[in-house]
Structures are given as C-alpha cells and as structure tokens.
C-alpha cells in the first residue's frame, strides 16, 4: 500500500536540507576544476549533476517501495551484494593497488558503497526479528552475517568502507539492544583479541595504508611525501580562516596543492573557500539532517523502521565524522567520501537512496500496513 499524500512540511524541510548539502557539494566540485574539461570529457560538476539526477530517481524509488517489502528480500539482496563483492575481486578494475570498481563503460560502479546500505537493511531486518533473543543471537549471529562482507571489502582492500561496515554493525548491535553486561564482555573479549587482531590487520595492510596511519600522527615529518595529503588538507582548511578566501582565491584547491579535492577532500575545498562561518553553516545543515533522521527513527512505527532509520543515520553519520575528521587531521586518512558532497556516482546514488529509505520509514509510520 502506497502513501499517496503530498509531502508535508517535515518532508520539505528534509528535502531542502539534503538539496542544500548536495548544492554545496556541486559548487565545491565545480570550483576545484572550473573552466572547460579536457577534450571529450564532461566537466566533473556536470557529471555530478547527472549522478544527482540518477540519485533522485533512486531516492524516489526508495520512497515508493514499502520498506517492509524491501526487508522481506533483505537476505536475498545481501547475498547478491556478497556475490558482487566477490566478483569485483575477480573482474574489477584495479587502480592504486586496490580493486574496488566495476568498469561499466564510462562509469565506475563501487559495490562496497551499496553493500553498506544493504548491510543496514539486512541487520535491521535481523534485529527486528530477534527482538527477544539472547546475546548470542544478538551479537554472534549478526557478526557472522556481517563478516563475509567485511572480509571481502578488506580484501579489495578498502579500509575506509570496512571501517564504515564495522561501525554500522556495532552501532546497530548497540541500538538493537545489547545487554550492558554483554557489552562489557564484548569489550573485554575484543581487548583480549586486540593484540592478535592488530597483528593480523597490520600485516595485512598495504604499505600505503600503513604509511597513512603512521604519518597521520605527524604529517610534517615528510611534507612532500606521505604526509603531503594530510598537511595540504590542513593548510587548505586553516588558511580559509574565519571568513574563507572565496572561490577565486582558494589557491590550495584551485592550484591543486590539495589532492583529491573533488572526492575525499571536498570538505577541505569548502572550508578553504568559505571559512569557519561557512563550515558552521554546513555543519548546521548536517546537524539538521541528523536531527530529522533521528526523529524519523524515533517516530518509526515498528522496530524494523526504527532500526532501518538508525542504521542509515549511523552509516551517514560515521562517514561524515571520519571524512571531516581525517581532513582536519584527527583521524588517519582512509578513503571515505563525504556523503552527499564528494564526487562519485555510487556514493551519491547510494546516499540519496538511503535518504529515500528514511522518508519511506517516515511515510509509513501512520499507515496500517496489514
């Protein structure tokens, strides 16, 4: 049963906030590479606009199909996703030592981005079904559910997405209602395992990942080398000052001192151009989105809706925190895009579909489904 009412005020606010963030993203992407693109290529901002258009379709579709119906197919969807993650290791395009993308003609498709959203769906479905179960069913089983996805992503390797994956899992386990006692045991268990896990993780990391983590502590050790990204991002943000340099004078991004200005470091571009005041406005937009999403989750009709909304909230929130944090030098640099702002097809469409799912949950809170 589909809700056919016209959007209410709440929904307008939600859509406006999301559009605001998207617009900021497109502007920043535009400012990194203004002027004509290399021959035969569309400019990045135009491509991003096209992605947002496709994302809008995904957004509408995610509103339209009842989330209960979606949840019924969660395990199938998750299985398909795992298949894609396995396939990308075999058939994917590799670049810079990682194999994360499917090359579909001119576009690159990154299944791990979609996997995050599917994980949210499948965990929401699972926890909604095992509401009254014990801690084994609440931690171990969903852990095993999550593990193959996590391992496949680590195998690419994609540290950033793997971290998102883990965070989604942990936060949904917590929201899903883990006993305080069980939580304590979990922490104890993890800390006991930590030395072994650390050894395992550290040795399995690629050299560049280790260097990123090491130089994170002090990017000035080797300003022209591994710490370059981190340092240039800090310079970009810091030099923006209180009021920013404006679009033309943002030399860090315009003159390409800041690497990856249109993707992972888009926040630094914005911060350089608009300064502290501008970023506060952006943060207010994100905070508004968090509030609205949390309200949707809070007012969800059933545990499935709540968990779904909470999962989406933690997925987007984690990406926001880690991306901005790494740009400002309080996290190591891992490849996590800034939701709704970074350039990228898969991330934009996935994030917008996630927003659609939130509205889906909101719309169905008052209607009787059965």
């Amino acid at each position: 049963m589909i809700d056919t009412r016209t959007p209410d005020n709440f929904e307008w606010r939600f859509v406006l906030v999301a559009m605001g963030i998207l617009a900021v993203g497109v502007t920043s992407i535009y400012s990194v590479a203004p002027g004509p693109a290399p021959a035969g290529q569309a400019p990045l901002y135009a491509k991003q606009l096209a992605w947002i258009l496709i994302g809008t379709l995904a957004f509408l579709a995610a509103i339209a199909i009842d989330y209960h119906k979606l949840a019924r197919h969660a395990y199938v969807l998750y299985a398909l996703t795992l298949l894609l993650l396995a396939l990308v290791l075999v058939m994917g395009r590799s670049s810079r030592g990682a194999q994360r993308w499917f090359a579909l003609g001119p576009i690159a498709f990154q299944p791990s981005e979609v996997a995050k959203l599917v994980l949210v769906l499948v965990l929401a479905k699972y926890f909604a079904d095992v509401q009254r179960a014990g801690w084994v069913q609440r931690v171990i089983v969903p852990g095993l559910l999550m593990l193959p996805g996590l391992l496949l992503i680590l195998k690419q390797p994609d540290l950033g997405t793997a971290m998102s994956f883990s965070f989604i899992f942990v936060s949904m386990v917590l929201v899903g209602g883990l006993h305080a006692k069980a939580l304590g045991m979990g922490v104890l268990f993890t800390s006991m395992l930590f030395p072994f896990a650390w050894e395992l993780v550290w040795t399995s990391l690629h050299d560049y990942q280790r260097e990123r983590i090491l130089t994170f502590w002090d990017p000035t050790i080797d300003p022209a080398g591994k710490g370059y990204h981190a340092l240039q991002a800090r310079i970009a943000i810091g030099s923006g000052g209180l009021l920013g340099k404006g679009l033309d004078e943002a030399t860090q991004s315009r003159l390409k001192f800041l690497p990856e200005g249109h993707t992972d470091f888009v926040f630094a571009v914005f911060a350089e151009q608009w300064g502290f005041i501008g970023v506060l406005v952006l943060f207010l937009l994100f905070a508004a989105l968090i509030f609205l999403a949390a309200e949707i989750a809070f007012k969800a009709k059933d545990p499935l809706g709540l968990l779904l909304a909470a999962g989406i909230l933690s997925m987007l929130g984690f990406c926001l925190m880690v991306n901005v944090g790494m740009t400002m030098g309080i996290f190591p640099i891992v490849g996590i895009p800034l939701p709704l702002m970074s350039y990228g097809g898969t991330t934009t469409v996935t994030s917008m579909a996630a927003l659609g799912l939130l509205l889906n949950v909101k719309r169905r809170r008052l209607t009787l489904f059965y």
């Binding site: 209602g177 310079i235 030099s239 030399t251 003159l255 506060l280 943060f283 909470a310 944090g325 030098g329």
Partner: protein, 615 residues
C-alpha cells in the same frame, strides 16, 4: 532485560538508545567544530602563510649591468642573453633522482647539485645551479620538465667581455654576491644570487653599473608550473662607464709584454688618465664571470704565475735605477749637493766592511749629476745616499707619491715601501744601518714600488710636478636621464721641486734616451725622455757568474723603464716592468717606445681624441 518486558517496552528501549546515537553524532560535530575553530581561527594566520608560501614564488629580475666603453667608445663589457637553470627546493620531489637526471642531461656532477641545494636556506626561493646552458641543454631540460618538478630555465643577461682577456685585470669580472660581501655596506640589501663586481672597475663602480633588481611574483600550481603573474617590479639597468683607456694602446701593451710576466702603465701626463694598464699573465674575465667549477677555480688560484694579480698596482718591485730620479731630486733640493757636484766613479764604493759595486766594471770616471743620470752611475748615487741619509731620500720619495696609494679607482691597490729610520724601527724593530742607505740610493734593498706609482711619479716629473690621481673612469652615462656625468681629473698636490731641479731632470732623462742607457727607446718620430732600471730579484740568488743570461729565469733581474714624451711638451708617461728578463734598457725601453710612438702618432694624425672629448 527481563523476560517480562513487553514489546512496547522493547520499543521504548530502542528509542532510548537511538537518542544516544543522535547525541553521539552531534557531540562528534561539536568536536569537529572545536577542531575547526583551532585550525581556522586560532592558527588561521599560520596556515594562510603556509598556503601563500605554497602558491607564490618570487623570481628576481636581474638588472642588465651598465656597459663599459673605452675612451673612443669601443665596447669593453656588455651583456648577452644566457639560459640559466634554477631550482626551487620546495618543489623538488626527489633530490637524488633530480641530481642524477641533471648529471645525465647536462653533465652537472651530482655532488655539485646537492652542494648547491644544501646552500639554500629558504626552500621557496629559486637557486641557480648552472649558468649559460647551451640551447641543446635547455631543450633537453624543457623536454623533461614534467618529470623534474622544481626546475626552471630563465633567460637572463650574462656579463660578456667582447675583448676576451684584454684589459681583464682592470675590468675585473662579476659573480654572485658572496655571504661575506653581503655584510659590506656597498653590497648591503642585495638578495642572494645577485650579480656583483668581484674585481677591477666592475667592483669599484659596482653600485653605479649594477642597476636595481626587479622582482616578479608569480603564482605556481602544485607542480611548480607558472600560472599567472601576481606582480612585477621592473628592474632598472645600470649606468654605463666610459673609461679613459685606449683599447688600441691596451692591445699593444699586452702584446708587447707577450708571454713575459710584467706590467705596463701608460698615463696621460697632463691629467692622469689611464691610457693603458697591462698585466701579464692575464685571465679571461668571461671565464670567471660564468661561474667556474671549483676545479678550474683552484687551478687559477694555485697558478704559480698568479694570473689574477694586477701587477700594475699590486706588484711591488724594487724600483732599481728608476729610483735615481727620486734620489737626484732629493740631492738637488738639499744644500749638501748640487748639479755640479762631481764624483769619480771607480766602479766600487766601500762602506763599512762592504764594497758596493757599480753595474759597470771599472767605473764611469768623473761624473756630474746629469752624466750620472744619463749613464746610471751607481757610485755617484751611492755617494749621494751616503751624504743625504735615508730620511731625506724617503721624504722626497713621498713627495712623488711613493709608499702611498695612488688613489686609482681600482680595488686592492698595494703601496710598496719607502724605508726610513722611523719605518725600520717601527716595522722591523731594528735601527737603520748606514749601508742600507747605499742600496736604497739605487732603488734596491727595502724600497719597493708599484708600476702605477712609478708611472704617476714619472708623469709628475714630466708635467712639472702635478701628482695626478690616476683616472680610469672618465664619465658615467646615467641610464635614466642619458646625462653624461664627467668625473674630473684630480691631483694629489704637487711635487715641491724647484724649477731648476725639474729642468735638470728633463735634460738628463732626455739624455738617457739620446745618448745613455735608454738608447733602445730612441724614436725617429718623437723625442722621448726616460730612465732605465734593473731591479735585482729579492731572495737568495746563487753566486752570480757570468752574464744575466746564464742565470735561471726566476733569478734574473726585472727590467724597468719609465718614460715620458714628447720631451719638451709631455703628453704621455709610461712605466714598464718586465719580470726576470734582465736590463731595463734592453727589455723594457723598446716597449715604452712602441707605446709612446703609437699614442703620439695617432694623436697627431687622427682626430679621434678630439672626438672622444664629446663621447
């Protein structure tokens, strides 16, 4: 949770935990805002400076140095375009790779590159690693520029001396200002890498011909490519110099010296203009101005013949018999001697337990003053020295400007030595011995002079006593106004001799050439007056056997000749020294004669000198 929990309570629990998630995220945003405040507001200025340093590079626009001309407008120094290679340390990604690439591409040794890189303290300022790239080298580097960030080729002007080594000593050469020079007031405020004069006129007049450097501020991208010009302060070229030097005379003087070490100074006797100033062996200022490798530099500096020394004003030689002009003047001005005083020369003069010999075995017979000068009779002057004492001679020598700087507009002039009792006590902490006066009377012993001092003294004798300050630069043309500022001739007073003393000197010195020791200087076209000299080389010469010719070259005497002409109305004064050749009359006099003839022939027949007055 107990098993009694209702489904509703379960849902409430979910909602409660959800609020923690929301709280966590908002706290996270708050934390990020604090960090943002720190980066943008607290450290904003710091990071702004870093970003400016990232994007802005300043490039010195080196001014073109002023041109240098001789008295007839012949070009002595100009500037030619040159491709210079610069490195900006900050833009370099891989030092080792870069040094290796430069060695491959243009043969610049790796160690040299790294040494230059290590010198640069300010990593964002470009530093020159090689000047004067060939077109091929420049093209090779341009072709590899994308792989070698931090490199920049700049077309700049390079100092050029079209005459090659000719006049190298007086022109000097240029080079990058050294850290020691930057401390001197004359070079204060110059940026590192500025080109300044290192020697010669280039150094003395550096502030005049240097010009003012400009500065171009450019914006570069992350690869070090120039994106746009932010600001340009144009450079101003330096002023031009017009020397009193006569290029033809200089050419002649240098070629007459040939491969012999020595010096020639020719002055305009009427105003002290330096017409020629040669010093051999010479060096090519082009080579020194283009940035030498340390190996070549070491070779030049360690050359036993000291090519960098300007012997004309840094070579201190015993004046030999040319000093008799001074001693004769001292005698004639004293009441102990007159022009008629006669001495019988037997070829030897005993003093204490030593016998001083005349250069002529058996002696000259009875001599008066004029005959003694014409024949360069040593015994006659031994007697003068014995009678006058060293201090009277020293005083007269100082009248002639000996023992003092001539004040020529060239750096690092030496002053020689005019010994006296006071001098010996002060410098040697010993009393003066009478026998030392005897040597000094014929220009040996402690007396030393520079060829330039002798030329100035000779000019003073010629012009009746005016002691001119040698003038090498006659005029400066200011680039800004095209105004020609003349530097007037200057004198340092007069030599206080009586007219009859001058008359006797003129008569005698003319006689030296017409019927005396300077016969080789006799000219068919002009009457020349002069004085020969043979300076014994300092140090332990082996016991002299036979003639000078049999002695190893480095122990042979230096040949002196000082002269002026025309004898009755002097226009030019010349001092010549040829090291380790022998008698002045034989080796130095012909050089002076040739120069004088060349000068007077042209000034009689050619009106270029008159034109030269107008520049």
């Amino acid at each position: 949770m107990s098993k009694f929990t209702t489904q509703h309570e379960d849902f409430k629990n979910l909602q409660r935990r959800l609020l923690y998630l929301r709280l966590g995220l908002l706290l996270g945003l708050l934390l990020l805002s604090v960090r943002l405040w720190y980066l943008q507001v607290v450290k904003g200025t710091y990071y702004r400076a870093l970003s400016e340093q990232n994007r802005v590079r300043t490039v010195d626009l080196k001014p073109a140095r002023g041109l240098i001309f001789d008295r007839h407008g012949e070009l002595l120094a100009n500037n030619i375009p040159s491709f210079n290679l610069y490195l900006t340390v900050e833009d370099i990604r891989d030092r080792e790779g870069l040094a290796a690439a430069l060695e491959d591409l243009i043969g610049l040794p790796r160690a040299e590159t790294k040494k230059r890189l290590a010198l640069q303290a300010k990593s964002y300022l470009p530093i020159m690693v090689k000047a004067g790239l060939t077109l091929r080298e420049a093209a090779l580097i341009e072709g590899h520029r994308l792989d070698l960030p931090g490199l920049r080729i700049q077309a700049e002007s390079q100092r050029n001396y079209p005459q090659g080594p000719l006049g190298g000593h007086l022109l000097g050469y240029v080079g990058e200002v050294s850290p020691e020079q930057q401390d001197e007031p004359a070079f204060a405020g110059l940026s590192q890498g500025s080109i300044v004069g290192k020697a010669g006129v280039e150094k003395t007049y550096d502030q005049v011909i240097r010009g003012t450097a400009g500065e171009k501020t450019i914006e570069v991208d992350a690869r070090g490519n120039e994106r746009k010009t932010v600001e340009v302060v144009e450079q101003t070229p330096g002023d031009d110099l017009y020397l009193s030097l006569d290029l033809r005379m200089q050419q002649m003087a240098e070629s007459l010296l040939g491969e012999e070490a020595g010096a020639v100074v020719a002055l305009d006797a009427t105003n002290g203009d330096v017409l020629a100033m040669a010093s051999r062996p010479a060096f090519d200022p082009n080579q020194l101005s283009r940035g030498l490798t340390s190996a070549v530099w070491d070779q030049i500096v360690s050359d036993a013949r000291h090519p960098l020394t300007n012997r004309a004003l840094q070579g201190q030689y015993p004046p030999g018999s040319t000093f008799k002009i001074v001693v004769a003047s001292a005698a004639l001005e004293s009441d102990k001697w007159s022009s008629d005083t006669k001495v019988r020369c037997t070829g030897a003069f005993p003093s204490g337990n030593h016998v001083f010999k005349d250069w002529k075995k058996g002696g000259h017979g009875v001599m008066d003053m004029e005959q003694a000068i014409v024949n360069s009779c040593d015994v006659y002057f031994y007697n003068i020295g014995h009678r006058l004492g060293i201090d009277a001679i020293a005083e007269t020598a100082r009248w002639f400007g000996l023992g003092q700087p001539t004040g020529i507009d060239l750096p690092s002039e030496r002053v020689g030595t005019v010994p006296s009792t006071e001098w010996k006590q002060r410098v040697r902490k010993e009393p003066w011995y009478a026998g030392e006066t005897i040597s000094a009377a014929i220009g040996q012993g402690y007396v030393t002079v520079t060829p330039l001092q002798m030329a100035v003294a000779t000019a003073a004798v010629a012009n009746g006593g005016v002691l001119y300050k040698p003038r090498l630069v006659r005029a400066v043309r200011e680039r800004s106004s095209s105004h020609l500022r003349e530097i007037p001739p200057q004198d340092r007073g007069t030599v206080p001799l009586q007219d009859r003393t001058f008359a006797l000197l003129h008569e005698s010195l003319h006689g030296v050439v017409t019927h005396g020791t300077g016969g080789r200087a006799r000219s068919k076209i002009v009457e020349i007056a002069g004085k020969t000299g043979t300076a014994q080389t300092v140090g332990a010469r082996p016991v002299q056997i036979g003639t000078n010719q049999d002695v190893p070259k480095q122990f042979r005497d230096h040949a002196w000749f000082v002269a002026y002409a025309p004898a009755d109305a002097p226009k030019i004064a010349v001092a010549v020294i040829v090291e380790n050749t022998g008698h002045g009359g034989t080796f130095a006099a012909p050089i002076a004669k040739a120069l004088i003839e060349e000068y007077l022939k042209v000034s009689e027949t050619d009106d270029r000198h008159q034109n030269a007055r107008q520049f």
